[in-house]
């Protein structure tokens, strides 16, 4: 049975399976987009899925510009999608 962890996304708890990525956790909450672009303010989320495109950036535990698709979830991790994006 897979272990569960709780991460905090924009202040709200989200249950995720241990060992998955932050992007998997966000996707499974139904989110497709979690940041906006600098110039056009366009919504962006997961695109390349392997750390190449930097479209899925979020702030994690205070560290800015982390790629959600390659960061493993950890219990108590604080994900902030509303922080600056660059």
């Amino acid at each position: 049975m897979s272990a569960e962890v709780v991460i905090v996304v924009d202040g709200a708890p989200v249950i995720a399976r241990a060992g998955t990525s932050v992007a998997v956790a966000l996707t499974e909450t139904g989110r497709l987009a979690w940041r906006t672009t600098r110039f056009g303010g366009a919504p962006r989320g997961l695109f390349c899925g392997i750390g190449v495109c930097y479209d899925c950036l979020v702030e994690i535990d205070g560290a800015p510009a982390q790629r959600a698709c390659i960061v493993p979830v950890a219990d108590g991790m604080k994900v902030n999608t509303r922080a600056g994006h660059e």
């Binding site: 049975m1 897979s2 272990a3 399976r17 241990a18 060992g19 998955t20 990525s21 992007a23 998997v24 996707t27 499974e28 497709l32 987009a33 672009t37 600098r38 110039f39 056009g40 366009a42 919504p43 962006r44 989320g45 997961l46 695109f47 390349c48 899925g49 392997i50 750390g51 190449v52 495109c53 930097y54 479209d55 950036l57 994690i60 535990d61 560290a63 510009a65 982390q66 790629r67 698709c69 390659i70 960061v71 493993p72 950890a74």
Partner: protein, 490 residues
């Protein structure tokens, strides 16, 4: 050990995918001390990306959806043995951002892949470096491809291999090449409904490489397996068809399909066949190798049969730079098993300088296997050509560079009004390829759109200009500052 410390080994292998695993293992078997630098957290690279054991659901296995998994398990088990004895240092979550070559040694500088990684070393110094950087999805922009819900085909597969669920989503897979099939299968496995797989090329394109296909029975078995998945789930496989427009603003609502003519031009599909309601689009136009480190190190490059930039190597996988070998997709996209074989030969050649290689009989077997695999890959590339004139389906406001939000119109203006006629100048004038991803996603397309303005094909020089990066990946200022403490190569 402080993060700024420098490791000294005999061989540095960059990349933990099929070629890198095989290189590291072969070098270790030959008695060499190896540092295996892997940007990911678990060995396997993209091909053998697999869920963390603790995230497995009941009844789910680590090997679900994998191919040649036993090859990976065998290599991983042996590597773990070498890691336990200290002969192989596994630097997981470490990204190589530069290579400096000196008289007799190279220094590979490292940064953490994400913030929580504790760096084991800030750099690795070794006589030999074997680059096995792999590749990623090659992208052709299409109007609407920045709308959330559109993903790279490989990204969809990575999401599923990471354990992601896509229950209830309606998906279309579009592009060209055999990779569209495993992506459709992965989507289905994750609970999505695949409405169609759209292959831009005609079925007849696959007949030209029949000879090389018949010499690879394992590939026929794989194709049959995917054919069964498509059949069982009644997934339509449409040939000569491409998604040429994606609709939606904050999420994908549907796509427009076009028919790809024999001359590569496109015409709108008729009636009910022209539109699909979907909320997930997977785009896959083949792969392009990650040549950032190879180009930065000064290795000679060329354009391969599929149009991608690849490294020039000799029969022993040595690049034009002394002490630098390159194996796997970076020498030409050809699949995981070819990468495994190339990695073994590359490391064997390195080992034969100081110890023992794999021996002539084994080397000859590997070369024969690679010749078969390369012929098969060429046939696949021939059958998976990009639609000629695809740049014509872009609107002026279609984003080409996602990071800097540079449109096709911006690039065409740089060519038309400002007189740019090569990708380097377009990059300087428009900032295409200068954002976070440093042109990894838009590099190929930017070169093609630029070339199309002058009614020519993109060249190796165009592609090299988009692959040349001062830093091979974004680096924290702190890591840069710390790297000043270490000496350069000698």
């Amino acid at each position: 050990m402080p993060a700024t410390s420098e490791l000294r080994v005999e061989v540095t292998v960059v990349g933990g995918g099929p070629a890198g695993l095989s290189s590291a293992l072969t070098a270790a078997h030959a008695g060499l001390r190896v540092a295996l630098v892997d940007a990911g957290s678990r060995l396997g690279g993209q091909f053998w990306r697999h869920p963390d054991p603790q995230s497995l659901a009941p009844g789910q296995a680590e090997s679900d959806g994998q191919h040649s998994w036993r090859v990976f398990e065998r290599m991983r088990a042996q590597l773990r043995g070498f890691i336990a004895t200290g002969r192989v240092l596994h630097l997981a979550g470490h990204t190589a951002w530069s290579i400096e070559r000196g008289e007799s040694a190279s220094v590979v500088r490292l940064t953490r892949s994400w913030d929580a990684v504790q760096l084991i070393a800030g750099s690795v110094r070794s006589e030999h470096v074997i680059l096995c950087p792999g590749g990623y999805d090659r992208q052709l922009p299409v109007p609407g491809w920045t709308v959330p819900g559109v993903m790279a085909a490989g990204g969809v597969q990575a999401l599923v291999k990471n354990g992601g669920r896509l229950d209830g989503r309606r998906a279309v897979v579009t592009g060209t090449g055999p990779f569209l099939l495993p992506v459709a299968a992965a989507l289905t496995r994750a609970g999505a409904t695949v409405v169609a797989v759209c292959e831009a090329n005609p079925p007849s394109a696959w007949l030209t490489g029949t000879g090389s296909v018949l010499r690879m029975p394992s590939k026929i078995a794989e194709a049959l397996e995917f054919g069964l998945v498509l059949g069982r789930h009644r997934i339509p496989y449409r040939t000569r068809t491409a998604v040429t427009r994606i609709h939606g603003t904050d999420h994908v609502e549907g796509v427009t399909l076009s028919r790809v003519r024999a001359d590569g031009g496109i015409v709108p599909s008729a009636g009910a066949r022209s539109h699909l309601e979907v909320d997930l689009v997977a785009l896959g136009w083949g792969f392009t190798p990650d040549l950032g480190l190879a180009v930065a190190a000064g290795a000679e490059v060329r354009r391969d049969v599929d149009g991608s930039l690849v490294a020039v190597v000799d029969d022993d996988y040595r690049s034009s730079v002394a002490g630098l070998s390159i194996a796997g997709e970076a020498t030409g996209v050809g699949g995981a098993m070819m990468a495994v074989h190339e990695g073994e030969l590359a490391a064997s050649a390195v080992a034969s300088e100081t110890g023992v290689g794999v021996g002539p009989a084994r080397a000859a077997r590997l070369r024969r296997a690679i010749a078969r695999e390369r012929a098969f890959a060429r046939a696949m590339h021939g059958a998976s050509a990009l639609p000629a004139g695809w740049t014509a389906w872009l609107d002026p406001d279609t984003v080409v560079c996602r990071c800097e939000e540079v449109s096709a119109g911006d690039i065409r203006n740089a060519c038309g009004d400002l007189g740019a006629d090569d990708a380097r100048t377009v990059k300087a004038l428009t900032r295409a390829g200068m954002g976070w991803c440093q042109g990894r996603v838009c590099g190929f397309a930017t070169c093609e759109v630029t070339a199309s303005c002058a009614a020519r094909s993109s060249t190796a020089d165009d592609l090299r200009a988009m692959s040349k990066r001062v830093l091979a990946s974004p680096v924290r200022l702190g890591d840069l500052a710390a790297s000043d403490d270490t000496q350069g190569p000698r």
